[in-house]
């Protein structure tokens, strides 16, 4: 019935126009809210600055008043030298922890130097802008490390914990990768082909054998690293085919236990020395 159609089309048109209007309004509202948040942050920052200045003025006044009470004023130069020395020591300590930083008036640059078992491995860097609010300007953190997640949780509330958590993620990743590289380097004849891994090295799967004992690769290992901050797996399964002889099956469960508690390459070293 042709008379019904114009009504339907007109109705659809109206709905479409309404949807469009509402989308535009929503967009404007979001822009407004962003602008408001930005201005609020600026206002907060200005308030902090004002408080700082107020404190400084008060301090000045106190010093003027309390000058007679102080026993022996250390000379300003000595104080400064002491401050510089303690800062240098602090920086040195931090450098040894693997996290070091450099501050400029606009930004702070942090470097995370990773290591595993005494081997110094990759370094990663982060540049943070300090004003108007702390945010990451640029970085060299690999894309598979959940940087966004970690910064969302900690960057604005606790910078130290943020760096600590990020450092643990990176060190654990580098540790897992290093174990796998050592395994492939020293035990290539134990493993069939290349182990299957992913970017984070938190899921490994490979078939292996004990050289000399058999031609085939009877053991199937699967290692799951559930904790991103640890370089030891949380779940290990070593299995054989169902028709394998009993001693093989027993060996598999022993291997499984070993792999759960020892670093990958070390576990294989143990297996080698047991032969």
């Amino acid at each position: 019935d042709f008379r019904a159609f114009p009504g339907v089309l007109a109705h659809l048109e109206m709905l479409e126009a309404r949807a469009r209007r509402e989308a535009v309004q929503q967009e404007e509202k979001e822009k407004w809210e962003e602008k408001l948040a930005f201005l609020k942050a600026r206002a907060q920052e200005l308030r902090l600055l004002r408080d700082e200045l107020r404190d400084k003025v008060e301090q000045q006044e106190k010093v003027q008043l309390g000058k007679e009470g102080i026993l022996s004023d250390p000379s300003p130069r000595a104080v400064l030298e002491w401050k510089i020395r303690s800062l240098q020591n602090l920086l040195q300590v931090f450098h040894l922890t693997g996290i070091s930083g450099k501050l400029s008036n606009r930004s702070a640059c942090f470097s995370i130097h990773t290591a595993y078992e005494g081997f110094s491995l990759d370094s990663f860097h982060l540049e943070l802008l300090l004003r108007p609010g702390l945010r990451i300007q640029r970085h060299s953190i690999p894309a598979f490390i959940p940087l966004e997640q970690i910064s969302r949780k900690l960057l604005h509330s606790d910078l130290r914990s943020f760096l600590d958590l990020l450092s643990r993620h990176l060190n654990a990743f580098v540790g897992r990768r290093h174990q796998l590289e050592l395994l492939q380097e020293h035990f290539s004849d134990w493993i069939q082909g290349t182990p299957q891994r992913n970017s984070l090295c938190n899921l490994l799967s490979f078939q292996y054998h004990i050289p000399g004992k058999s031609r085939s690769f009877p053991f199937q290992a699967r290692l799951l690293y559930g904790d991103p901050c640890r370089s030891l797996p949380t779940e290990v399964t070593v299995s054989c085919s169902p028709d394998a002889p009993a001693p093989l099956a027993e060996a598999a469960s022993a291997h499984s236990e070993l792999l759960r508690n020892t670093a990958l390459h070390r576990a294989f070293h143990s297996l080698k020395s047991m032969e």
């Binding site: 640059c109 640029r138 970017s199 899921l203």
Partner: protein, 346 residues
């Protein structure tokens, strides 16, 4: 062996440069070493490809193996294709255990449930790089093997590199399958395109050289005195200016090689700034204009502009922010007050 498969293999071999055919066939691994020995790689390519097809006939090649050969060719000649970068998003915070078997199953399942006639092939390379080749058909036609799409994905990263075939209508389906397979919720195209896949990867994975100021416990080396010119009769008049330019350039571009991009495109929608007395335009509308910079190696040429004296240092942030912002397509609108809003302003 299917006629179409034979023809496809023949044409793929014809694409390869003659001195590389043996290497690619070896990488393929479908023909045995003994079989490869029987091939004469000094004849004309037409004959070589015929011989290869005959050997494939003996081994009963099907389209799956032929597709792998195509991936191998395109992996080596990736610079012949234009690559776009897509970014995936997910709101969740669960830890990812990327399992490649799981990924492949989900990807194939999603595509096949929407389109029966597709050829899907995977090949894994080092560095956790997964290549996916998809040849598209319709409900009534078999897949067109000559216009496939290629996808390159690194596990547990939110970036996908796609070289779409000319049949762009399949792109939404491809994107859907990718987010389902990799456990993401959303995908959008980034404003970043180039022929150099490696450079795109360098940019989004932050593998290019960025110079970060790092703390070092040793005191900084005294500035190396400029190697005294052997000839004292030559005097550098603009020495301080040269050093200033060099320093600014180093701060922006760093030491290492730049990612390889071929162009940067700026779409300007800014008001024409004119003398109020000269009323060139009646309407107060933004002046639309497209500025495109092209070069065989754009970033290296930008890096050499100031030292060559062709531009003032520092260069405009619109040019130097390209690797950091991971984009080479920009839209520039009028600055409204001090709030940047949704458009790019340096």
């Amino acid at each position: 062996m299917d006629e179409t498969v034979a023809e496809y293999i023949r044409r793929t071999v014809l694409k390869m440069p003659r001195n590389e055919i043996k290497m690619m066939l070896q990488k393929w691994g479908f023909l045995s070493e003994a079989q490869l020995q029987t091939l004469n790689f000094h004849q004309i390519k037409d004959n070589i490809s015929q011989d290869v097809v005959q050997l494939c006939e003996v081994n009963s090649a099907d389209i799956k193996q032929a597709a792998v050969l195509d991936i191998i060719y395109n992996h080596i000649y990736q610079h012949k294709r234009m690559w776009s970068v897509y970014q995936m998003k997910k709101p969740g915070e669960e830890l990812e255990y990327f399992d490649i078997t799981d990924f492949k199953k989900k990807f194939k399942g999603r595509l096949r449930s929407a389109l029966k006639n597709v050829t899907i092939t995977f090949k894994e390379y080092e560095d956790n790089e997964i290549w996916i080749r998809v040849a598209w058909g319709t409900p009534y036609k078999k897949p067109n093997q000559y216009k496939p799409s290629y996808v390159v994905y690194h596990s547990q990263t939110p970036y996908v590199f796609i070289s779409a075939s000319v049949l762009k209508s399949n792109l939404p389906l491809l994107c859907q399958a990718l987010i389902v397979a990799s456990n993401y919720h959303d995908i959008r195209e980034m404003e970043l395109r180039s022929h150099s896949l490696n450079s795109l990867q360098d940019i989004v994975f932050k593998r290019y050289s960025q110079n970060f100021q790092t703390y070092s416990p040793k005191p900084p080396q005294g500035r190396n005195a400029e190697a005294e010119s052997a000839d004292l009769r030559i005097v550098q008049e603009n020495k301080s200016e040269k050093e200033r330019i060099h320093r600014l350039n180093w701060e922006v571009f760093g030491d290492g090689p730049q990612p390889k991009l071929e162009f940067a495109q700026y779409m300007l929608e800014t008001m024409f700034k004119r003398d109020p007395k000269m009323d060139v335009l009646d309407k107060k509308e933004p002046f639309r204009c497209l500025v495109k910079f092209s070069s065989p190696h754009l970033l290296e040429s930008l890096k050499s502009l100031a030292p060559a004296g062709m531009a003032d240092a520092p260069l405009s942030p619109l040019l130097t922010c390209i690797p950091q912002k991971a984009r080479n397509y920009f839209k520039i609108r009028e600055k409204k007050g001090f709030f940047p809003g949704s458009f790019v302003s340096p």
